[in-house]
């Protein structure tokens, strides 16, 4: 089992950590979520029996853990979290423009409601369909699609100026 757990960690921990970090906006809480997910798998090995998509299952566990963490926050913690929400969930950019965009993207994600943030993350960085997102988050596909549209509109409005500045090469020919 430890070997299986290590293999699962190597395969899925980056995704679980990225999801938890974008969802909680706190590196400490993201670590707690990641640890709790793998602790649960070690305690209950049968959890993964019969599971077709281990990644989706782990993300579902992570979502439940992250929601528990966010509910437990007190008012004081929330004030602290607003300051910590700038924790960048994205890798450093190759140049200052990319870096600035990723920091702005992290900040824009932090401003979204948690449920929209979760849907946006799963759609954009886990490439899940709305049906898969619905299964992960326990909502209907219609709700997932609706939340995604709201989230994307807000991200677009917030990031449009920066995006126009550093528009990637493959889009410049179409948009110019």
């Amino acid at each position: 089992m430890p070997t299986d757990l290590a293999r699962l960690y190597d395969t899925h921990a980056p995704a679980v950590f990225g999801f938890a970090l974008n969802l909680t906006g706190s590196e400490a809480e993201a670590r707690d979520v990641l640890q709790e997910v793998f602790r649960r798998l070690a305690r209950r090995p049968e959890l993964l029996e019969g599971v077709d998509n281990a990644r989706a299952f782990l993300l579902r566990l992570a979502h439940n853990q992250a929601v528990d963490h966010m509910r437990r926050r007190t008012v004081r913690d929330k004030a602290h979290d607003r300051a910590a929400a700038e924790a960048n969930g994205f890798a450093p950019g190759a140049n200052p423009d990319e870096d600035a965009f990723r920091r702005a993207l992290a900040a824009a994600l932090a401003e979204l409601p948690a449920e929209q943030r979760a849907v946006a993350h799963l759609k954009l960085w886990e490439h899940q369909t709305f049906e898969q997102i619905a299964g992960t988050l326990g909502v209907s596909p219609h709700t997932a699609a609706s939340r995604y549209r709201y989230a994307l509109d807000k991200l677009r409005a917030r990031l449009r100026p920066l995006y126009d500045e550093i528009k990637p090469p493959w889009t410049s020919s179409k948009n110019s």
Partner: protein
């Protein structure tokens, strides 16, 4: 999917710090394995579905039990008749019997015979109080 979404998708996520791996796996390895009963293992894949099915059966049994008439209710619905009702029933029954099976005319229309005077023949058939004596 428009270009903006594609661009967002290309933003790589930050991986977890390298030193976490050993710590998290070590903490997970120390967690005691929870023994799962056969029932739990059997129900695990869809515990909510099984629970919902059990709840539906409970509801069906409850509705079935609630819709069955109870003995006490039957008794309360048909209480014992009062003596007056019984008398009315019996008299009605007799009336109906009389109408259905009328008595022979000789039995009903027999006139009372005059009692014999003392000393007359047949007076021995009456006692002192002038009541007829049955002769077997």
């Amino acid at each position: 999917m428009d270009e903006f979404e594609k661009f967002l998708r290309h933003q790589p996520l930050r991986p977890p710090p390298e030193n976490w791996r050993a710590e998290i796996l070590a903490a997970a390895a120390q967690a005691p394995v929870k023994r799962v009963s056969k029932w739990t293992a059997w129900l695990w894949p869809s515990p909510y579905a099984w629970g919902a099915l059990a709840a539906v059966w409970v509801v069906i049994f409850s509705l079935n039990a609630a819709s069955m008439p109870r003995r006490n209710e039957n008794l309360a619905r048909d209480p014992s008749p009062t003596p007056q009702e019984m008398m009315a029933f019996v008299s009605g029954w007799r009336q109906w019997e009389r109408e259905l099976f009328p008595q022979p005319a000789t039995a009903t229309a027999a006139p009372a015979l005059p009692r014999p005077q003392a000393g007359s023949p047949g007076a021995f058939l009456y006692d002192r109080k002038r009541r007829p004596v049955l002769v077997s």
